[in-house]
């Protein structure tokens, strides 16, 4: 697994350095085998206090590329999931893509307009189809 760093914008070098520091390989080969995260230390207090949590989740800003050809998939599919995982799929046959769209509609109740189904399958087959 290799890391490539493409700095974009202000503060990129600092951030990239931070990322490498976090996921890099800090130990020399031959380091002693020790658990990284210690479990609850001996003598820890018997009470365990949970604290309320409030977070913000990032949203995706990626639409399916392709202009008018992507209109149907962008209009129907992004309500339930972002585009990223679709764009990293392997190339699959038209029948497989049709099956995926059918599963989304019938198993997962995606509110996809019946008239949009062919355009979605066409898009997936064109962009992620077996050549």
């Amino acid at each position: 697994m290799s890391l490539s760093v493409t700095p974009v914008g202000f503060g990129a070098a600092l951030l990239a350095g931070l990322v490498l520091a976090i996921i890099g390989h800090p130990e020399p080969p031959g380091a002693i085998l020790v658990p990284a995260a210690a479990p609850v230390p001996a003598g820890a207090p018997q009470t365990f206090v949970l604290k309320s949590v409030s977070i913000d989740l990032p949203t995706s800003n990626i639409a399916f590329p392709g202009g008018t050809k992507a209109e149907a998939i962008n209009a129907n599919c992004l309500a339930c999931h972002s585009a990223g995982m679709v764009l990293t799929q392997h190339n699959l046959s038209r029948a497989t893509w049709a099956g995926v769209v059918d599963k989304m509609i019938h198993a997962y109740k995606a509110p996809v307009g019946e008239k949009d189904v062919p355009a979605i399958v066409d898009y997936l087959t064109e962009t992620k189809g077996l050549k």
């Binding site: 760093v5 914008g9 390989h25 990284a36 995260a37 949590v53 989740l57 800003n61 995926v100």
Partner: protein
């Protein structure tokens, strides 16, 4: 679907429709995520084909750098380097997988309740204090692995998250026995299954809420836990805060996150996520031929052994003739690690390795061994055998879900 969600979906649709003609990677105006202000770090996953590049993101709360497989609902993979640092996966590096996008972003520990209903003597509504202070505390190290971990290697490929090997993690879970909670409610005679669900909800009306169930005897085996802490801290929200089911030795699909309802059933569970999803062929190694029909399909269940080299990666250069330490992690699946062997002659002979500290039979366990590589290309193969005598197979299994991969891993290195 709540009104807020309807509005959000409406907005999303309008945003995309409004720019559908623009082409390229359109940016949604008003997004909380400003791409131009962030470092775009990427990783090349060593997948056999298909798109290999993924963004490495630091945008998720309570999470360090993670491999972004999907933003919404989140699919975040642990960078593989993390597994070389020890047998416990840090909470902020622990993989994340959600099915539905309606995930509460706030949990109030004072108002949260865990309900126990169904075929019980007394229905319960437990506070977190009832659980943390009112029941015996237990701790257990256990691997949590996605059913589809390593799906990106499936050949021929199948649809789904194209994970590399980082949809897994190991933690010391702290919590209470599910059995103790069920006993407090008093399971009635005739109970067959115990079903679990969390606070997450489908985006659309009528879609199947994520629910999973276990056989009553499994649920009461004293090992299945309700965890309120991992590695000594409360769970990150994306890993299921405040409560998560821990099903040692079983795939992660059963480890229901944000667990807030337990239902004892007096019959089989015919709900979608048990009957129609996460099914594997009922064959040794869960393998079948693409297109094969008439195969009996069953819910995925126990994990199988796996092992990985963590201090070498494909393309590394070693010194020919020099002693070189190779190390990694292994887990036995539904039982402990009996042995880990490595081979540098294509599997003709296997060399024993030294195992690290035993943290329990459901935990990752480190292994290491020195090798002396000959000149030229070297393939380092690693194979775990568990305490049931089950060893990793040489070839990758295939099924339509891309589930339960555990073939022997091979790292290809060269020498200089």
């Amino acid at each position: 679907m709540g009104e807020a969600m309807r509005r959000m979906i409406g907005t999303t649709r309008r945003s995309f429709l409004g720019q559908a003609g623009a082409g390229g990677l359109a940016l949604v105006s008003g997004s909380a995520w400003i791409a131009s202000a962030r470092a775009e770090t990427t990783v090349d996953l060593p997948l056999p084909d298909g798109p290999r590049v993924r963004v490495v993101t630091t945008s998720f709360p309570q999470k360090a750098a993670m491999i972004l497989q999907r933003t919404r609902p989140p699919l975040l993979e642990t960078p593989f380097e993390v597994f070389d640092r020890g047998v416990f996966t840090p909470n902020d590096s622990f993989f994340v997988r959600w099915h539905w996008a309606v995930i509460p972003t706030e949990v109030d520990v004072n108002t949260f309740r865990l309900s126990v209903r169904g075929h019980v003597g007394t229905e319960l509504s437990m506070t977190l204090k009832d659980i943390v202070d009112g029941l015996p505390r237990v701790e257990l190290a256990a691997v949590n692995q996605c059913s589809g971990n390593s799906r990106g290697y499936t050949a021929p490929p199948v649809a789904g998250a194209q994970w590399s090997n980082g949809a897994m993690g190991n933690a010391k879970w702290m919590g209470v026995r599910l059995k103790d909670v069920l006993d407090r409610a008093g399971v009635k005679r005739g109970a067959e299954r115990v079903r679990f669900a969390g606070l997450d909800e489908p985006v659309v009306d009528g879609a199947p809420k994520l629910m999973k169930s276990l056989d009553i005897d499994h649920a009461r085996d004293g090992e299945v836990m309700i965890a309120y802490a991992m590695n000594g801290e409360q769970l990150p929200l994306l890993n299921g805060f405040p409560l998560r089911l821990v099903v040692p030795g079983w795939y992660s699909t059963y480890w229901v996150k944000m667990l807030d309802r337990i239902e004892v059933l007096d019959g089989p569970d015919d709900s979608f996520w048990m009957k129609s999803a996460y099914l594997i062929p009922d064959t040794p190694g869960a393998t079948m031929k693409p297109g094969q029909t008439g195969v009996n399909m069953v819910p995925i269940n126990k994990m199988v052994p796996r092992s990985f080299v963590t201090n070498l990666k494909d393309g590394d250069t070693l010194k020919a003739g020099a002693k070189t330490l190779v190390r990694g992690i292994a887990f036995g699946g539904s039982t402990g690690v009996k042995s880990v062997g490595i081979s540098i002659d294509g599997g003709a002979s296997w060399l024993p390795t030294v195992l690290g500290r035993d943290e329990g039979k459901y935990s990752f366990r480190q292994w290491q061994r020195e090798i002396v590589p000959a000149a030229g290309a070297v393939s380092v193969m690693v194979r775990c055998t568990n305490n049931d005598g089950l060893a990793q197979p040489a070839t990758l299994n295939w099924n339509a879900g891309g589930f339960m991969h555990n073939a022997i891993e091979i790292v290809h290195v060269t020498t200089s």
